[in-house]
């Protein structure tokens, strides 16, 4: 027998068993996962965010009824949250990932060399996505609410006045979320694994914004009485507030929580609406306007700076 020829019978010519493949895959994944230590930290933070969100949620519900008993169910509360966020979730995510997609497609370099701002790409994406999700909102959420409330009358403006009072607050919410989307999108120029970071940000805003529980709940915990007052200055928070009131109570009188009331610990209930006696609607709009502008300005600056950094580091596109 020639030395160059190996007898085919020396080894069983079967392929590796599924067991071998599984073991090899597990080993490879553990090794690569360990290489991405920052990912592990981010995933850890994601878990913490979830714990916080649902922890507060449980506490809020557990508080039961306090001074202001809710006059609607908790499921209706959550439903109004998710309805409102139909308007902002998809466009936020698509904007946060759009540069990464552009880079993966290899068009990033071309766009950059043609003076197409990364900012322009992101804002363009945000606007087109917003239109898409507004359409989705109109055909899904409104009918759902009509069904649940059992009255088509809740679908459309009860009075034109209430409806038009709500619109500017929703508009400022759009501006605010645009700035957050742009910031997250810019971060993706430097850090490629941004999926979890984007999710964490979304959850943080939802926690702060009263998605899971009334923001007054924060005040129920001792020293945090001032938190809702700060949070409600964010357009997305007052937007959510007004939207819920409008949808459930046909009322849009969103005002700053009266600090006195909160400081007195009179607000004990988890998700009941407060009867505010604070600042008026005009102030609310003004504050929304100023805060949106500040955030947009900040976001545009961050986009500019991070684009420069990415050109330095060579992460602006895949290579």
């Amino acid at each position: 027998m020639s030395i160059f020829k190996r007898s085919p019978t020396t080894k069983d010519p079967r392929l590796s068993s599924i067991f071998d493949v599984t073991l090899a895959t597990v080993k490879r994944n553990l090794i690569t996962d360990w290489q991405y230590k920052s990912d592990i930290v981010i995933q850890f933070l994601w878990t913490v965010t979830n714990l916080v969100a649902y922890g507060f949620l449980g506490l809020s519900v557990g508080q039961g009824t306090g001074d202001f008993a809710p006059n609607y169910s908790f499921s209706l509360f959550l439903l109004s949250s998710s309805a409102f966020w139909t308007l902002f979730t998809g466009n936020y995510e698509e904007t946060a990932f759009c540069l990464r997609e552009e880079a993966a497609r290899g068009t990033m370099g071309y766009l950059v060399t043609n003076n197409v701002d990364t900012l322009g790409i992101m804002v363009g994406r945000y606007l087109s996505s917003s239109i898409k999700f507004l359409a989705i909102f109109l055909v899904t959420t409104i009918p759902t609410f009509a069904l649940i409330k059992g009255a088509a009358g809740n679908l459309l403006p009860h009075t034109a006045r209430e409806f038009f009072m709500l619109l500017p607050l929703v508009f400022f919410s759009y501006l605010f979320m645009m700035s957050i989307s742009v910031i997250m999108g810019s971060i993706s120029l430097l850090v490629k694994q941004t999926t979890t970071i984007v999710r964490i940000m979304l959850y943080l805003i939802r926690i702060v914004g009263g998605y899971f529980f009334m923001i007054e709940s924060f005040a129920a915990y001792g020293g945090l009485w001032w938190l809702p007052v700060v949070f409600v200055a964010l357009p997305i928070v007052s937007g959510q507030y007004a939207f819920r009131k409008y949808l459930i109570e046909h009322d849009t009188t969103v005002r700053f929580p009266d600090m006195q009331v909160i400081n007195d610990h009179r607000v004990k209930n988890g998700f009941a609406p407060l009867s505010f006696t604070g600042l008026n609607y005009g102030y609310m709009l003004l504050i929304n306007f100023v805060v949106s502008c500040l955030f947009l300005l900040g976001a545009f600056l961050i986009a500019k700076i991070l684009t420069q950094v990415a050109r330095r580091r060579g992460t602006i596109e895949f290579y």
Partner: protein, 328 residues
Amino acid sequence: MVRSEIIVSNGLIKEFPTSFTLFSKKKTQKERKKRVLNGISFDLPKGLSLALLGPNGSGKTTLLKTLSTIYSPDGGEAFVCGYDIMKETPEVRKRISFVSPAMDFQKKLTLKQTIDFFVKVTNGDMALAKEFIEELQLDHLWHTKLETFSEGQKAITRLCVGLQKNPEILFADEPTNGIDFRRKQVVLDFLEKQGRERTLVLVDHDPEVVDVLCDKILLIALGGTVKGMVDVAKLQSEFNYMYDIMLIPKGTIKKKEAEEIWPRYEMIGGMCRFFASNRSEATEIHERIIQWGKFIDIKTSGISIEDITLLWLKKHEEEFEEKMLAER
């Protein structure tokens, strides 16, 4: 500042961070950076086109991307179309176009929608795009989605996207890869026709592409340094080679023996390499080697443009060094 050069590069340096992680044991700056362009200097006079050549990983793509303002340099300076790539970036970007082989498209858009988008974005010239597509006989795909395009068809689309802007300089990284032989000729004709109006800066390993389209070759060495710049015309007149015949001798071959077989040769290790300008010369060399007889193997291949450039540089090494010294 009015310059007679369309591109001036002075000691251009580009470094990439080796890794961007939160936890890295390497703390010093030097350890964390990888220098890819290490002081690239050259001038390209107006009206001439340039080919960048060099081994894989020598930084050709990085140089293209730095000159076309995708990356910002970490040292040195460069002027493109007379504008500083660092300080006058928008002016540079108005005048250039960059075509990357990595460029892919929205698969669900048709060719027309795709070109429309880029024409809008760059304020480009739809007529020029149409002309190019028609010349390349892709107009029957005008309303076809790009997901069905072949690699070659995509390569043509990429070039079209680069050209429609009607740039002063077209930077193109391996632009003719994947394009079939016949269409490649059409592309070459099209680009050549525009001749001196448009400067091309290409990375392309095809000798024919370099030959037809470029006037100068910038040879880059591993480590990102300039090995030399050569005129294509000079190269042709001195080294008009098409084939490379590698002879593996039994034992060794003496210089004299080699010279008797064919005067144009090069010794590499124990082997000998002969250069032929055409097929009949190649056949002749083969016959002579067979006559000589003391060989194990003969291999014939098309010569690479890098090889010729290197040969030229070797021959003119002294002259070159003097020139470089004089320039400093």
